[in-house]
């Protein structure tokens, strides 16, 4: 799985969750950059990401994430450990 592929899927997931086709994710993108990104949408994002990449995170991993780049890093790390 490449970083480009993960970003492609993540862009699709974010656009779908927030119903906003203009979203373009970057490593630094965080909840302050997307108006509707609140705690409920955070749950929806994590669930959609877990389903898309067929992996499960634990609470601590999710709590530590500061931005999209760290989420992508986590996905790639989990994928390489499988």
């Amino acid at each position: 799985m490449t970083r480009e592929y993960v970003y492609q899927q993540m862009n699709r997931i974010f656009r779908n969750v927030f119903d906003d086709e203009s979203i373009e994710l970057h490593d630094e993108t965080n909840a302050e950059d997307i108006e509707d990104w609140d705690s409920l949408e955070q749950i929806n994002l994590i669930v959609a990401i877990e389903n898309e990449f067929e992996m499960m995170f634990d609470m601590a991993e999710v709590a530590e994430l500061a931005n999209v780049g760290e989420m992508v890093d986590l996905i790639l790390k989990k994928d390489s450990n499988e």
Binding site: L40, Q42, I43, N44, I46, V47, E50, N51, M56, F57, D58, M59, E61, V62
Partner: protein, 142 residues
């Protein structure tokens, strides 16, 4: 009332209950919602549209899903977060509905469960199906 905690749930766990829809409940829902569409109020209009009688409000039927998650699965600690539903067939006053919920997905990272919901009538015909996202309130002993 059940009081399942997230940790108690497992995929495939299911609960169900029955409820009969009545004219009184139709009236109450009309008052609550303000939906005076003739499909739900006039037998002749409903029949002219191909239905055998006034059609029960879809959201009256799906209001039973509030009870499903709030009382039965998971029950007391439920925090309803969202649902996606399909209304498959009409419901009529007098129908006895069976409401069934089954744990479909568990996401420990965000303590969220997806419940598959299915409502059938007394003839076994599916009238509503969907998925419900539920989170969990704080447990009292935490």
């Amino acid at each position: 009332m059940n009081n399942y905690r997230f940790e108690d749930l497992y995929e495939g766990l299911s609960v169900s209950f029955e409820e009969t829809v009545t004219e009184e409940k139709m009236d109450a829902f009309r008052q609550i919602s303000g939906d005076v569409n003739p499909l739900h109020m006039q037998k002749e209009f409903a029949q002219s549209q191909g239905y055998k009688d006034k059609v029960v409000y879809g959201m009256l039927t799906s209001s039973l899903l509030s009870r499903l998650v709030g009382v039965h699965l998971p029950g007391k600690y439920c925090l309803l977060q969202g649902m996606e539903l399909k209304y498959l067939n009409p419901v009529y006053a007098g129908d006895t509905l069976t409401v069934k919920g089954t744990v479909y997905e568990l996401h420990p990272s965000v303590k969220m469960a997806v419940i598959k919901a299915l409502i059938t009538n007394q003839d076994g015909v599916k009238v509503v199906r969907g998925k419900i996202n539920v989170g969990f309130l704080r447990y009292e002993d935490e």
